[in-house]
Chain length 168, copies 2
Amino acid sequence: MKLSEAKAQFISSWGAFGTHWGINRTMAQIHALLLISPDPLTQDDIMEQLNISRGNVNMNTRDLISWGLVDRVLIQGERKEFFSAEKDIWKVATQIIKERKKRELDPMLKLLGQLEQVDGDKKDKNVKQFVDTVGGIRKFGTQADKMLDVMIKADESWFVGSLLKFFK
Amino acid sequence: MKLSEAKAQFISSWGAFGTHWGINRTMAQIHALLLISPDPLTQDDIMEQLNISRGNVNMNTRDLISWGLVDRVLIQGERKEFFSAEKDIWKVATQIIKERKKRELDPMLKLLGQLEQVDGDKKDKNVKQFVDTVGGIRKFGTQADKMLDVMIKADESWFVGSLLKFFK
DNA sequence: ATATATTTTCAATAAGTTTTGAAAATTCAA
DNA sequence: TTGAATTTTCAAAACTTATTGAAAATATAT
């Protein structure tokens, strides 16, 4: 397979993959393009390579920056801004985990804690089922949360070495 | 907080939460409703409680069944079909992991393996970056895949006991 | 068999999300 | 400053996805 063909496939699949994870197609495609580009790219490079508008590139690169996955880089003697993606996939993964934990898991756990305080007689099966379900989800989520915290702090070699040996 | 209010909040947040995970809002809401219902519900119960159409309930319950999260149950002497959700949150989580692995991760790893075979000179920095990136993602994904396989086979007490002690 | 209840399907529609593109704002060099 | 280059914004348009509702199919009771 030729590089150009492989690139196109990678970008397109990474985009489709992203949509299953609440990330929009274009944002994931821009990320994919930057991941395989040895050098930083400009807005115009991205527009041209992905056939998308300037506004679209602007919004999505900004979003990628807010996720901590892409950086603006200044290149000596160039007027334009360049964009570059973090290439270390372990860092990419921990960064995504960190952000999603903050944006989704933490608020959900907070809410579940409140909902567990519902009034009413635990003898009522409706109340009981509600409290049991919410409590069960909260306990599970709390454990996942702790586990993810450790992963975020760990570094890859520790993770790969110890954890995968543990999971023989 | 009253039960009715807490229920409404739980259903609405679980729906919003679902959208971040590639699950549509209504499907997640139906799932939430069934999770907190002590008894199985009919199509009409779900339509009424969530204010949605019959067709919508039908499609989304079918989808939940295909994800292995909901079962049809027959109730003695009743003409209508009833729906009931798996309440054990550990089983829910492993079931979701299993399905998403099959639907998303496994095909992605297969593709990445193919893309690594790209033609061209590794001295070319474009080829090198492509192969490095794709290879890195594939290695990471393969490890995650193995780890998830172990989790799926494990049971909750093993997981909570050993893994969380490991992650002290 | 027939009538009635129930579930399923799916074309039309509604709702939600993404993208465009041109105008406004900003940056920077001379 | 001024003006050219560049980036940002955002309302309108395009596209995508979800929902409705009524007709068709299926199941069940009499």
